[in-house]
Amino acid sequence: MPALLDRRLVVVTGKGGTGKSTISAAVALAAARRGKKVLVCEVVAKERVADFFGRPPSGTQIRELVPNLYSVHVRPREAMREYALMILKYETLYRLAFENAAARYFLTAAPSLAEIVMLGKVFWHASREMERGRLRWDMVVLDAPATGHGLTFLTVPEVFLRLVSEGPLARDMRIMQSVLADPARCSVCIVTLPEEMPANEAIDLDRALRQHQFPVGPLFLNAAFTSRFSVAELASVTRGGPLLTAAGEAADSHESRASLSGHYEGVLRESVARELVKVPFLFERSFGAHAIEKVAHAIEGVL
């Protein structure tokens, strides 16, 4: 099986607030450093990756953030329009069919039409050829929505095909489904934190992803704490002046987080049969390129 950095499509998913965008950016940066041309597709409401690198938001235009690393924000409205135009060919027909109250209703009621066209757009990027059969992107990283919605996002082709079996959308959905099921081309990673809810959600997500037979990518344990003090050391600093008391409390607080972190790491190792990649907690005053660099460095070795 190819290494993570050799897949064409890397999907990063997990509970909200676990650092999916950070990991997406770091994976992309690691790949770009190895000479790959990488595109990060962000599909959630707010674009973040460009900001990590101190660049203005890319919007729906693909922009280079650092050498070989590009990003684009895929938004439902624009994606819908582009997709509809691809099929309908005529702007007038599009307006007639889609820019009316009935169609707006249709877009709400149709199962996840927004997700469908967004996923379609990501796939369009992932399979786009330049010339002479060379792909435009060596790797596309999909920074997917949070767990519940993320799973909806990835199973959209499956759900859609259950409801609809004819038409151009159904045909495209079949192609997407085949890529999303192919471990040679695709990998679905999970990001989690060493806390109760995120860890439980990662376990559920792992199970659900397996059920749908998505290619099994690594589990990134983000913001992990590592033990730093022995029990004897902790006990020794419970006395002394105010500075030592403060230091002792800080050390105790560190150890309690490290012990929680270790506990959930153990739970995850036991319940999730994926390669676990530990990303240390970063104590940064501001979160930017420097932080992404550190994360990329931490995960590089195992990719």
Binding site: G17, A109, S165, E166, P242, L243, A246, S253
Partner: protein, 375 residues
């Protein structure tokens, strides 16, 4: 919590993963301790919290927290605490069965594919059903206080506009007009005639095929006659949520991205004419420097020596590093909280420090209540 005195419904809102469920449960516990009959309505509680509240296998049933659990936590409430875990699918099905004019109508709805998507996955559906439930429980008069823990994934607009969205799916005039011929054909039973006609419909059918449109037409037909009831209740819910009987509590963590989302929620509430009653900031880093004194390695070495503690394997360096790290976190948190305070002028703000352990029982919730008492 003083800003919530006299409120009958408390809505805890905010991003996922900020401790919304825990805060909601802690508020219900506080009300129960004061002698109220309090219910916490939760969507997706952490397993250990659910287990310790006795919520393990319960569906859409309100359950009284066993007094034994209170005894274990050495708490003697003057009131009662109840909890309920909301299941999306069964809550919807219940609603349809209750509202349908006949069992046949209910069956037709339950079997429809569009309904199945509405009742399991459609955006706003969970929020809508949670509000329906709050309204139902409120109207029953069985509880003094109902605390709602809102769905984890929802953003501000999803939550506030859920009733409109759902009502629109149930009945939409524009779509009804477009589907007109299909609806008529369906009604007289000529299924074969129910093909999409008209330019708009034919164009839409090119995307999804005509089966989907047929399902849609059937869905609208199946719901016929029930729409008014939904509409009526939705307007009652709206009135309840924007009245002074309801208090919205913004739950957040000091993470800049999360506070941004909280402020967004605050503004969305404001736009709907609702005032935020209180803000709870969870998991705030304690400042290790509150004892004062320099926290450099030299000072720590000296302090260790003074206390006759051996400085081995870079102990002083590790202590210094830990102090510095936590000072950075404390500074970041303080900065965010100050920003929140400045923006949310006049809204009472409560901070809960990062606790040493996850909260998963009544004793833990009571500990949190200690921070939610005084501003």
């Amino acid at each position: 919590m003083r800003p919530l005195e006299g409120r009958k419904v408390i809505c805890c809102v905010g991003s996922g993963g900020v401790g919304k469920t825990t805060t909601a449960a802690a508020l219900a516990l506080a009300a129960a301790m004061e002698g109220k009959r309090a219910l916490v309505l939760t969507i997706d509680p952490a397993r250990r919290l659910a287990n310790s509240l006795g919520l393990k296998e319960l569906g859409n049933e309100e359950t009284r927290i066993d007094p034994r659990h209170f005894a274990e936590a050495k708490l003697s409430p003057r009131g009662e605490m109840w909890a309920m875990m909301l299941n999306l699918k069964s809550a919807w099905d219940e609603l349809v069965r209750r509202d349908a004019r006949s069992p046949q109508q209910a069956d037709a709805i339950l079997a429809n594919k569009i309904y199945q998507s509405l009742s399991t996955a459609m955006a706003g559906s969970l929020e809508y059903i949670a509000m329906e439930k709050v309204n139902e429980l409120y109207s029953s008069g069985r509880f003094d206080v109902i605390v709602l823990d809102t769905p984890p994934t929802s953003n501000a607009l999803d939550f506030l506009h859920a009733p409109d969205r759902v009502l629109d799916v149930l009945d939409n005039n524009a779509m009804r007009l477009v589907l007109g011929p299909m609806l008529k054909a369906g009604r007289v039973g000529f299924r074969l005639l129910a093909v999409p006609s008209g330019l708009v419909l034919r164009t839409l059918a090119r995307f999804t095929g005509s089966d989907f449109l047929r399902d849609l037409a059937q869905f609208m037909m199946a719901f016929e006659g029930m729409y008014e009831g939904f509409k009526d209740r939705a307007s009652k819910v709206k009135a309840l949520l924007s009245s002074s009987r309801t208090g919205f509590v913004l739950v957040t963590s000091p993470n800049p991205l999360i506070t941004q989302e909280a402020l967004f929620f605050h503004r969305a509430l404001q736009a709907d004419g609702i005032r935020t009653a209180a803000v709870v900031v969870n998991r705030v880093q304690r400042d290790p420097r509150r004892h004062g004194g320099p926290d450099n390695v030299a000072a720590l070495k000296e302090a260790l020596q003074l206390a006759q503690i051996k400085d081995q394997n870079g102990f002083s360096e590790r202590l210094c590093e830990t102090l510095t790290e936590q000072a950075v976190l404390a500074d970041l948190d303080r900065r965010e909280i100050e920003k929140l305070r400045a923006t949310l002028q006049g809204v009472p703000l409560f901070t809960v420090p990062r606790l040493r352990k996850d909260v998963h029982d009544l004793a833990g919730l009571w500990q949190i209540d200690g921070y939610l008492g005084g501003e």
